[in-house]
Symmetry: C2
Amino acid sequence: MTLFVDMDEVLADTYQAHIDVYNSEFGASLTREECYGKEVWQCVPEEHQQSVRQHAHTRGFFKELPVIENSSEVLEQLNEKYKVYIASAAMQFPNSLEEKSDWLDNHFSFIPWQRRILCGYKHILKGDLLIDDRSYNLERFNGKTILFTSPHNVNTKGFDRANTWLEIADKLL
Amino acid sequence: MTLFVDMDEVLADTYQAHIDVYNSEFGASLTREECYGKEVWQCVPEEHQQSVRQHAHTRGFFKELPVIENSSEVLEQLNEKYKVYIASAAMQFPNSLEEKSDWLDNHFSFIPWQRRILCGYKHILKGDLLIDDRSYNLERFNGKTILFTSPHNVNTKGFDRANTWLEIADKLL
């Protein structure tokens, strides 16, 4: 079985990083819970939205992202059992490309370069399962899908869902 | 029809760049013809091989690659007719990732980020046709293939082959 795993908000806590950078920059105290059902930029005053939307274009942003709890341990076990690829729609942010490669070297070095994919559309991936936080990626994928919970997708219906990597372990190991 | 097109030695003349950098560094006069059937590093004295093998790890190497003749004009026409993706096995060279994105912006800006793929293995791509200079990519691809001629593959048998982009136009337009 070939398994594709997204990076941002599945392995890397990009969502929390947006909140942390915003709170630090504006002395705010935005929480994840306040953001449920929205993107972070939609949860800040209008005059700060442009700043939040610039995070992903900022050098360094993707370099130090926190690792989502249990993702490394569970993915390493999945990697023993399945053909695991990491697939990130990163081409939108050229500044992120090398940082993402470095981040994988630091935290997911057991996934070799041959199984790393930086792309745009994900429906061109041929495999059996896609784990992703974006419903538009899952909808067009030609295989099974798991929606990984992120604050922005808590209200999304119609997908098999995992809230944590331990739930993914339960489903797949 | 979904079409995947490789970058190095199909759109970008990486092979010639290896020769040019080598000739410039060592005051040599290696030609493409002397390299037929081999990689560039295999065509230089043993004491220079390590230097040639470092080119792809050197910052700047992928930034200024020459565009292969007629590739831009023909690909732009193919892009009107088919779903064209560019797929480069670039993950081996993290230093190349942003340079490749910039190079595409400069020379193939009509291919948007959604249709750009930096990957390792290419057999995970789901589509109808792969144009590539590496037989190992074509062998495992689950669709039609065209081997694009590069000095290193002139002796490779068993593939539908195109020597130039005008030949690709003849086949596909």
